[in-house]
């Protein structure tokens, strides 16, 4: 069982890491949450139905963990002795993106400023390149909601870029 699990980790952990990273915007935290995702997967292996895609199942676990993380963060924000700096997940631009140009940088930063629901839709539709149907299955939303959130998310990104005076047309 462990050998099979290790193979699954080798095969899918990068995808999950990428998904988590774009949700939380921090590589270290994304690594931690990836580890937690696979640990939960190991614990709940019995609930995994083989006919389902394992990546979809792992993404669902990862998503729940990310939401838990944000929920916790929101609670901690009300506690005065927690420094605000500790709670901020600042999206640091990864090294490999340093030379990508101004628009890329602006889009990257804007992505972490929009609502989590919009960000999720954009990540899955444009970075992970999933179909509307796949996103709807994964997130448990209707297809209309997926389309709406994607459009609104893109609009929000454009708005931020416009406010920052970035010319992207």
């Amino acid at each position: 069982m462990l050998q099979q699990f290790q193979q699954d980790y080798e095969k899918h952990s990068d995808t999950i890491f990428k998904y988590i990273y774009y949700l939380v915007g921090n590589k270290e935290l994304a690594e931690d949450l990836t580890q937690e995702t696979f640990f939960k997967a190991y614990q709940y292996m019995h609930t995994y139905r083989k006919e389902a895609n394992i990546v979809t199942w792992l993404r669902k676990i990862a998503r729940n963990l990310v939401y838990d993380h944000f929920r916790r963060k929101r609670i901690f924000q009300f506690i005065p002795f927690f420094q605000k700096d500790c709670l901020q997940d600042e999206a640091l631009l990864p090294e490999e993106f340093l030379l990508k140009g101004e628009i890329f940088l602006a889009v990257f930063q804007a992505l972490f400023k929009i609502k989590l629901e919009y960000r999720e839709a954009i990540i899955l539709r444009y970075i992970e390149e999933l179909s509307v149907k796949e996103v709807s299955d994964l997130l448990g939303w209707s297809e209309a909601k997926v389309k709406n959130n994607t459009t609104r998310g893109l609009r929000a990104v454009r708005k931020i870029l416009g406010e920052e005076g970035i010319c992207y047309e």
């Binding site: 069982m1 462990l2 290790q6 980790y9 952990s13 990068d14 890491f17 990428k18 990273y21 774009y22 590589k27 690594e31 990836t34 580890q35 696979f38 640990f39 190991y42 614990q43 709940y44 292996m45 019995h46 609930t47 995994y48 139905r49 083989k50 990864p94 090294e95 490999e96 993106f97 990508k100 628009i103 890329f104 889009v107 990257f108 992505l111 954009i122 444009y126 970075i127 390149e129 893109l154 990104v157 454009r158 870029l161 992207y168 047309e169």
Partner: protein, 316 residues
């Protein structure tokens, strides 16, 4: 396609994850999994070992009880622990064998074997001729008398040994015939057969097993509900699970109800061993989830209760 925002998003697919980070995460994960597994496994292994020890003791109890000094005289003065009988239609074979290990061997009630003791006390040793033996009827009962010191006596009881209505007993191991004179035999014969109604001994003990089964089903249900576990782990198709469940429940109930009269110990032990192996096999396949851990311990307690039940019944 030419949308620069979408292009930028597409370029984000190039996010790199270092090999070192990936391996480090796996190592940490592996450590965490091992700790989690070990934390749960030791409890289960300890408990399961307990069950196996109990099973072993149970088998030892049976094996010790089966030691028989076959050639000893019938020690009537010693207290008889139990008498089992089985109907036989041959005088050349003793099909009763070991009373506790064969299907269909029935146990006489306490009252019945006290009467038998009286009956045996009246015996007279006879040495019938070959032709007389041939004339004996085939309709017999094979009796196995177990004394409190553990030794067993095999006795073939021929009701219609002769036309005179005498009772004939054959010590199967020593090949000595005892005869009960007609005048006493007629009475004793009637009395012993009147005890047939005592052969079925009803007790409330099966209710204990029934209670244990209900409790186990209820607790399993609650644990599954609490941890949102699937009804059965994905090791077998649903129908096969159902078949296994029904058969196991039937076997246990059947054994519990019939334990006092027809003894099923001969196949009871293999069934319990198979149950234990089956449980162990399933548990090895399961993930170390807390809910499953609780289910495993519950199963161990369940098996233990059943084994204890048998030990108590056999010891009594």
């Amino acid at each position: 396609m030419n949308d620069p925002i979408k292009n930028a998003l597409r370029q984000m697919q190039d996010l790199k994850r270092s090999r070192e980070d990936k391996e480090l995460t796996w190592k940490n994960l592996e450590k965490k999994m091992q700790v989690d597994t070990k934390r749960h496994q030791w409890q289960y292994r300890t408990a399961f070992t307990g069950v196996l020890v109990m099973l072993f003791l149970f088998i030892i109890l049976l094996v010790n009880g089966n030691e028989s000094s076959k050639n000893g005289m019938i020690p009537l003065k010693e207290e008889i622990a139990s008498v089992h009988y089985v109907a036989s239609d041959t005088k050349s074979q003793f099909i009763g064998k070991d009373s506790r290990l064969y299907l269909g061997v029935k146990k006489l009630s306490l009252k019945s074997y006290r009467q038998l003791e009286t009956l045996l006390a009246l015996h007279q040793v006879i040495i019938p001729s070959e032709s007389e033996i041939r004339a004996f009827d085939n309709d017999t009962y094979d009796l196995i008398i177990t004394f409190k010191d553990g030794h067993q006596q095999r006795l073939k009881w021929n009701r219609y040994a002769s036309e005179n209505g005498e009772l004939l007993m054959l010590d199967w191991d020593k090949k000595i015939y005892y005869i009960i004179p007609k005048d006493i035999a007629v009475n004793m014969d009637e009395e012993i057969f009147a005890f047939k109604s005592d052969f079925k001994v009803w007790s409330l003990w099966p209710l204990f097993i029934l209670g244990v089964m209900i409790m186990e089903a209820l607790l399993s249900f609650l644990i599954r509900k609490k941890y949102r576990l699937p009804k059965k782990p994905d090791l077998y198709p649903e129908k096969k699970w159902m078949l296994v469940d029904i058969s196991v429940s039937m076997v246990i109930l059947f054994m519990a109800i019939n334990l006092k009269s027809p003894l099923y110990a001969g196949w009871l032990i293999p069934v319990v061993i198979i149950l234990c192996c089956w449980q162990f096999w399933i548990n090895q396949k399961l993930t170390p989830h807390r809910g499953y851990m609780e289910l495993r311990l519950l199963r161990v307690a369940y098996l233990l209760s059943i084994i204890m039940y048998f030990i108590i019944l056999f010891a009594s």
